[in-house]
């Protein structure tokens, strides 16, 4: 059980340690703190978006021990001791992940609000299943709603990434400034 600290008003807080994108963070959170809010407000990882906050839209998707979950449906205290990957942890050394690059190449981003969640769902899929069928891609991102309805390009982008169809030139062009 996480260490409990009670303040002078009797409010209890829990000392938790979470491993986010490879970094260990020890934080003091209230029991009712939602993981999405802790990531965004305490760790400044605002790539994790808040949409419905009821586990329907998938914009708050993070990987919890490698598996996609809606972080709005997880208490921070429940994540104590666990590994979390947010969208900020996907690109490495200033280089976009293949899925991110492929989404740029395929113009699979419109307003961009669903994109972090989409990338993480796709990432989890390709880690588990490097050569998915179109149906498997669609199933994997079924919990990520795109209100711009740009699913066709997103599915194409994930399939292209799974086939390694990302040219080095594309990488250069898409590198963050």
């Amino acid at each position: 059980m996480a260490q409990i600290i009670t303040d002078s008003n009797g409010v209890k807080r829990y000392l938790i340690t979470i491993f986010v994108n490879g970094d260990s963070h020890t934080l003091l959170v209230k029991g009712n703190a939602i993981l999405t809010n802790v990531l965004r407000d305490d760790l400044n990882l605002t790539g994790t978006k808040k949409g419905c906050e009821l586990g329907d839209c998938g914009s708050c998707t993070v990987l919890l021990d490698g598996k996609p979950v809606d972080s709005c449906m997880v208490l921070a205290v429940e994540a104590d001791g666990r590994e979390i990957t947010t969208i900020e942890g996907v690109a490495a050394n200033g280089r976009l992940d293949e899925i991110q690059q492929s989404m740029l190449n395929h113009a699979a981003v419109q307003c961009g609000y669903c994109t972090p969640g989409m990338v993480l769902s796709a990432k989890a899929l390709l880690t588990r299943n490097p050569h998915p069928s179109e149906r498997e891609v669609r199933e994997a991102i079924a919990g990520n709603l795109c209100r711009c309805t740009g699913y066709v390009h997103i599915v194409e982008a994930v399939l292209a990434a799974s086939r390694g169809e990302i040219t080095p030139a594309d990488h250069e062009e898409g590198e963050p400034q």
Partner: protein, 289 residues
């Protein structure tokens, strides 16, 4: 979105959890996957003074075969763990397939079998197939434990026979003679939708004769219900398309659906008729799928 305050507990053992529940009773909500409890709390439908998290009770996380007893599934097993279980895929693929239709990947990585049962809603996707497979549940409390058939657990919309101090520990699918089973769900979308209606069946077929059948309806009555008239009618009969169509009509007649935003009474009855017929045919022809 506002989350009410509560005191959080994460006991280390089932006995410790039971002792806490005996003390807190109605003032506590049990937290497993959180997809239902946190949802209700955010919407202001639930504001428990205490949350009792089961996250450290690793003894409730496995799926195992016990000879003479059957397959025992811990209440904390998540939907995706059911979907990916080699043991369940081999023995009763119908259950992994039902778990797969439940919700999005993100929810299936959080939500638990126990939560889907204790929740008690008639649209839950796992109870129908579990009842079709004659499953039983084990409830534990500081005073001891009791087992009951899963079909006896539900007593009204979102009402079950669990008492506040009890915790659902596991679910057992007994050894059986069934030759096939399946669950067909009809939702308004293919993903992330609640069942407008669903039908689970299990059958015992011997040389083109239906020795026994169980038909369980989801979202077709205030609780998950068995279509006993249709079951009794089928018992001992020679299989034919006409027979299965008649069973579908009987199941529709005994269903007690309600009008809701997802479907009218007439629509749901019609679904029950069609899905019953299809589910029976699928289980007869293809086994546990």
């Amino acid at each position: 979105m506002n989350m009410p305050d509560f005191e959080y507990h994460a006991p280390e053992t089932l006995m410790e959890a039971c002792a806490l529940m005996a003390e807190l009773g109605k003032n506590a909500a049990v937290l497993a996957g959180g997809t239902d409890v946190l949802h209700k709390m955010k919407l202001g439908k639930l504001a428990p003074a205490h949350i009792l998290s089961l996250k450290r009770l690793n003894s409730l996380r496995d799926i195992r075969h016990e000879s003479g007893r059957g397959i025992v599934i811990g209440a904390l097993v998540r939907h995706n763990e059911i979907y990916n279980s080699p043991l369940l895929q081999e023995r009763f693929l119908s259950l992994p397939m039902a778990a797969h239709t439940m919700a999005s990947n993100q929810i299936c990585n959080l939500g638990t079998l126990g939560g889907n049962i204790v929740n008690g809603v008639p649209s839950a996707d796992l109870p129908p197939i579990l009842i079709a497979l004659n499953s039983s549940i084990r409830l534990v409390s500081a005073r001891g434990e009791r087992s009951m058939a899963l079909e006896d657990f539900f007593c009204g919309a979102a009402q079950t026979r669990i008492i506040p101090e009890e915790i659902l520990a596991d679910i057992t699918i007994p050894e059986q003679f069934t030759t096939g089973s399946t669950y067909i769900k009809f939702g308004l979308r293919r993903s992330g939708a609640l069942a407008v209606a669903g039908v689970a069946v299990s059958v015992e077929v011997e040389k083109n004769i239906l020795r026994a059948a169980r038909i369980v309806l989801a979202s077709a009555a205030p609780t998950v219900m068995r279509a006993r008239d249709a079951e009794n009618f089928l018992c001992g009969k020679k299989i034919s398309d006409e027979l299965l169509a008649q069973a579908g009509a009987m199941a529709a007649a005994e269903s007690r659906p309600r009008d809701s935003i997802r479907g009218s009474v007439e629509y749901r009855r019609n679904l029950v008729e069609v899905l019953t017929k299809r589910a029976l045919r699928k289980a007869i022809d293809k086994g546990h799928v």
